[in-house]
């Protein structure tokens, strides 16, 4: 992905607003853009969700099939997360195999779901060593308005929470919901000139040197973190982002992801 082109004037504008404690769309530094989540938008998928986070628009589809387990975990199901930055979503995305940005996004979304143990993988086992459920989480970014990470992560968990194991289709019993145990939520912050802002817009993301994504669970514990970008962060900044992210995740979870 080549970088977004942005005029110096616009950069200065955002920077100057930041000094006054403001953002271009009038949000507070710790405020998210408007979020809408619709689930079950794709009937053919076992679970799905459409997330709009401000101008960012993603659709997540969960397909579930039976397959053979990995030899080192014969009694556990498999989760595979994929995300592509397709050229439909932005003038700077190009077709071709996923590049590092897309791979990083997919792997962080995957880590949030995997490391929080939000899916009980042992319950995805049908016959140990032979047959398990394979859960494919595919994130389709339709419009890049900044902060794809949080939109993708919200979409993935929302889609999983509505997904069913298609047992009837595969002749292994009755359909049941995907065994969920936790609801991890990713919160991304950017650093701009020393200030920390949550849920960066496209412009804010472009001028910021660094992003930090913090994934936290229902109990307020952390299950994943990823710093992305070339400028460093201080310990104080990191600790501040962790604290505020845990609070924000709680808020988002209560508002959008009630089971």
């Amino acid at each position: 992905m080549s970088n977004e082109i942005m005029s110096e004037l616009r950069k200065d504008y955002i920077y100057n607003l930041m000094i006054k404690g403001e953002r271009e769309d009038g949000r507070k530094f710790d405020e998210y853009r408007e979020i809408t989540i619709d689930t079950n938008v794709i009937e053919k998928a076992e679970g799905s969700a459409r997330v709009k986070l401000g101008d960012t628009h993603v659709v997540v589809g969960v397909k579930i099939q039976t397959g053979t387990p990995f030899p080192d975990t014969p009694d556990k199901g498999v989760i595979i997360t994929n995300l592509e930055l397709i050229p439909l979503a932005s003038p700077v995305f190009e077709s071709g195999p996923p590049r590092e940005d897309a791979i990083e996004l997919a792997r962080v979304v995957d880590r949030g779901i995997r490391e929080s143990e939000s899916i009980d993988l042992s319950k995805l086992c049908i016959t140990p060593g032979e047959k398990v459920w394979m859960v494919f989480i595919d994130v389709h970014v339709l419009d890049d308005g900044g902060n794809i990470m949080d939109a993708a992560s919200l979409g993935a968990i929302a889609a999983l929470m509505t997904a069913k194991l298609p047992a009837q289709k595969f002749g292994v019993g009755e359909d049941t919901p995907v065994p969920m145990r936790d609801v991890p939520v990713a919160v991304t912050a950017v650093e701009i000139g020393g200030a920390i802002m949550l849920d960066p817009s496209l412009d804010e993301q472009s001028i910021s040197g660094t992003k930090l994504t913090v994934i936290s669970n229902q109990d307020g514990g952390l299950s994943g973190m990823q710093k992305s970008g070339v400028s460093p962060l201080t310990t104080e900044q990191i600790n501040y982002i962790v604290d505020i992210s845990i609070e924000k995740a709680k808020e988002l979870r209560e508002k959008f992801l009630e089971i």
């Binding site: 990083e104 973190m225 710093k227």
Partner: protein, 243 residues
């Protein structure tokens, strides 16, 4: 491999270390002839080698930047570096590791000194034993200095994790496989964090404590990196080595 019953016994880890102790480190500077800078780095069972080429022309040309150098980082694991043979070539993991490692080093490189040129960093993992990305960053940082690339400081990297509900510095393979959390960190000697990743389970307080622990580990490594570089170049200055 089976999970050991206990990873820590009486405050001592399976390999005999205390919780806040790093594994033995061996550093050799300038081990490759063709590269502009290089470093061999052993970190416990990890054996990695880093080479730096550049500043040099950018190929393909469209990647070049008119106002600064481009930094490229390739992390690669040898197929024989792990228990089960790894399929050669980049996979999704190594692409991600390359990205975050490059971003860990970029802040210290004076890229604006070399417009329209490339600084290429290649890291080969010859043997992997948990913590290869941190070993790679430590090696690459020394190789950059060895190549004479102007830098603001060195970068040191170290992981902290949680096993048996205890925070431990620099996880070994068993602790990585069966532990509860893993958090690699890279930082400059003045405490700026340039790489931060985490997976597993940590509470807010454990995270804070872990971060401080990792910082101590990084400072220890920084000292060793510095010593290794000084050893090579102080002897050069005294004229003992004629190359």
């Amino acid at each position: 491999m089976v999970k050991p019953e206990k990873l820590i016994e009486n405050g001592i880890r399976l390999d005999g270390r205390k919780p806040d102790e790093i594994r033995p480190i061996k550093i050799k500077v300038g081990v490759l002839n063709r590269a502009d800078g290089s470093c061999y780095f052993e970190f416990g069972g990890n054996k990695v080698i880093a080479a730096v080429y550049g500043p040099r022309e950018v190929h393909p040309r469209h990647q070049q930047k008119s106002t600064s150098a481009v930094v490229r980082y390739r992390y690669n694991m040898a197929s024989f570096s792990v228990e089960e043979r790894k399929r050669p070539g980049p996979d999704r993991r190594s692409i991600e590791v390359s990205k975050v490692s490059r971003e860990a080093l970029e802040p210290v490189i004076f890229q604006e000194y070399f417009p329209r040129s490339a600084i290429d960093i290649f890291v080969e993992v010859l043997q992997a034993d948990a913590g290869t990305r941190t070993a790679g960053i430590n090696a690459a940082s020394i190789a950059l200095a060895d190549a004479g690339i102007p830098m603001k400081s060195l970068v040191s990297a170290c992981a902290v994790g949680k096993v048996d509900d205890t925070l431990v510095l620099d996880l070994n393979k068993d602790e990585d496989n069966y532990g509860q959390a893993d958090m690699p960190i890279a930082m400059t000697p003045d405490g700026k964090i340039t790489l931060l990743q985490m997976d597993g389970h940590l509470t807010r307080d454990e995270f804070r404590e872990g971060l401080e622990m990792a910082k101590k580990g990084c400072l220890e490594i920084a000292q060793l990196q510095r010593t290794a570089l000084m050893e090579k170049y102080s002897s050069l200055m005294e004229g003992e080595v004629n190359e």
